[in-house]
């Protein structure tokens, strides 16, 4: 009786081990969290059409799931806190937070949520919904990179991309688009740590 119980327990343990291994193989996607220390979301916009003003967002979060076997199942999510805008000038940052620009009391976050992923040479082509200033529009990001690196037992992967946006497409007031141009270039360098 005791022997039978022991055998049953052993068999169950082996089954659990096998099943967990199979499960790990079946779910080949890795989940990564946005590493704020080694990532950045910056932007630049034309000033009077002669120069560029540079800025960045200091508070960003996100995660992405990479499925190497079936990349179409990969997902990318990025949330930027609009309040964290930083152009190295406190007065200008305050102005940018006001409703004439980001309206951060009304629209506290800028978000990207992927809806489709396609493999391209050297990276991924990710389509998704970009929400800024309360308006959502479909955009396409060309994420270059994806190289993995293990550092202190933590797997890391990184991507970078650039996208051009027109502020007027996202509900920014056209009449307030003056010295600072309508078009902004957003540069995202993102490093993820496997969860």
């Amino acid at each position: 009786m005791l022997r039978r119980n022991c055998t049953t327990c052993l068999m169950s343990f082996v089954m659990i081990l096998v099943l967990s291994g199979v499960g790990r193989l079946a779910g080949a996607s890795d989940d990564y969290a946005y590493d704020l220390v080694h990532s950045s979301v910056s932007f630049k916009a034309r000033h009077m059409d002669i120069s560029w003003i540079h800025g960045r967002f200091n508070d960003v979060a996100g995660n992405f799931s990479l499925d190497r076997e079936d990349p179409t199942k990969s997902t990318f999510l990025l949330t930027i806190k609009a309040d964290s805008v930083d152009t190295a000038n406190a007065a200008r940052d305050e102005h940018l937070r006001q409703p004439d620009y980001f309206d951060t009391k009304q629209f506290p976050t800028i978000e990207f949520k992927s809806t489709g992923v396609k493999v391209i040479e050297g990276g991924y082509e990710v389509t998704g919904d970009f929400t800024m200033h309360g308006k959502t529009k479909g955009i396409m990001l060309t994420l270059m990179g994806g190289k993995e690196h293990i550092f202190k037992d933590v797997k890391r992967v990184a991507f970078s991309t650039e996208l051009k946006l027109k502020r007027s497409d996202f509900g920014f007031d056209k009449t307030q688009i003056g010295a600072i141009g309508d078009e902004a270039i957003i540069i995202i360098d993102c490093e993820g740590m496997r969860k």
Binding site: N63, N89, Q98
Partner: protein, 388 residues
């Protein structure tokens, strides 16, 4: 960027449109009827606001996404409708109002209008702050979700909404009470001045579009007031009390603009409270020394009292603007550029990497600290850098 020319155009358009409505109504309705005259004044302000906003190219997207749009598309139209109802139901001595065959007597009409008024005044704050960080909507927070640091707790929410409701009722009630004793024209004009001052203060605090919303409202009030004053002088029976509806619109407009300027812009709380209470200075005419004076002197006293406080508020706002915002708008002067170039040309990298800025006197400065000379160079360079 502020556009004074379009502000001027919008003001003129709003004044002309609102004045025309009052005059046209009077031409059509030859016989003086209280309700019709009161309705014309309210409609005039509504038409004036729409005209001014069109000149300023305000967006009219539905559903309204921000507080300014909610003010223009929900609060102002609701206020105009409320004041129209109040004019028809509350003052209908000569007009037999029928609602679904029911002839509303004056008393129940007044109560009905008051009910609408209370409901609107109670909900103005909630409408303007809808979906903002103050009301703790975290559904769009994503990974940064959670309670926003600016989100209010229950007590704060009750205090803000309750306070704005009580303030609105008190100011509207006191101004309407005053309009029964005195010429309403100066009260409406004072209100228009405060609204315009609020717009300027909001603009100087950095919210240009929000401040410019005050222009059509103030101009429409001025247009309706002047037209009604003109009719009061030349036509018998056009009572100055017909402007009571415009006072209601003005009070709601002022409160909304202050709410938008303070909670979404950078208009300070103290400045907003002072501006909100400034119209009450119209009561100065009821002080013992002034009460017995001729009407024009009392009107002048009201306007002067309001102007003094308004000037003081705008003076302080201008000082803040000059200190904080003006450097963003000003271009770099040639002297600044010259100074910067001189500083740049005289700068030589230190041989010691631990000393980022070599001092003229030659003393060594530890890493992270700067000599007085080095510090002045940094400030000079940043002066140019800090201007857009």
């Amino acid at each position: 960027m502020p556009d004074p020319i379009s502000y001027l155009k919008a003001s003129i358009a709003a004044v002309v449109a609102s004045a025309m409505i009052v005059l046209v109504f009077r031409l059509i309705m030859r016989k003086s009827v209280h309700s019709v005259a009161a309705v014309s004044c309210v409609l005039a302000v509504g038409v004036g606001i729409v005209t001014g906003c069109r000149v300023l190219q305000f967006s009219w997207t539905w559903p309204p996404a921000n507080a300014l749009n909610r003010f223009l598309l929900i609060v102002l139209p609701a206020t105009v409708i409320l004041e129209l109802l109040a004019a028809i139901l509350g003052g209908g001595e000569a007009v037999n109002v029928r609602i679904l065959g029911y002839s509303a007597p004056k008393r129940s009409g007044s109560l009905c209008a008051l009910g609408f008024r209370l409901a609107l005044y109670a909900s103005v704050g909630r409408i303007l702050l809808h979906d903002s960080v103050y009301l703790g909507d975290v559904s769009r927070g994503g990974d940064l979700g959670g309670v926003h640091p600016d989100a209010w707790n229950f007590a704060q929410t009750v205090a803000v909404f309750g306070g704005s409701f009580a303030g609105l009722i008190a100011i509207w009630g006191l101004l309407c009470r005053l309009s029964e004793r005195a010429a309403a024209g100066s009260i409406t004009l004072s209100l228009a001045m405060v609204i315009q001052g609020t717009g300027l203060a909001t603009m100087m605090a950095g919210y240009i579009k929000g401040g410019s919303a005050a222009i059509p409202l103030a101009a429409a009030l001025v247009g309706a007031t002047f037209a009604s004053q003109l009719l009061a002088k030349v036509v018998d029976g056009f009572d100055k009390k017909y402007l009571r509806g415009t006072i209601g619109i003005g009070v709601i407009g002022l409160c909304s603009l202050l709410c938008i300027g303070h909670y979404f812009g950078q208009l300070t709380g103290l400045r907003a409270i002072v501006l909100f209470l400034t119209p009450l200075l119209c009561w100065i005419s009821e002080l013992p020394g002034l009460r017995a004076r001729p009407a024009w002197q009392k009107s002048a006293a009201r306007m002067i009292a309001v102007t003094i406080v308004l000037s003081a508020v705008l003076f302080v706002a201008k000082q803040d603007f000059d200190r904080e915002m003006a450097p963003l708008l000003r271009s770099v002067s040639s002297s600044d550029t010259e100074r910067s170039l001189t500083a740049a040309s005289s700068w030589k990298p230190s041989a010691d990497p631990g000393v980022p800025f070599p001092s003229k006197s030659g003393e060594k400065v530890a890493d992270g600290r700067m000599s007085r000379t080095g510090r002045s160079r940094v400030v000079q360079t940043n002066t140019v850098k800090q201007r857009i």
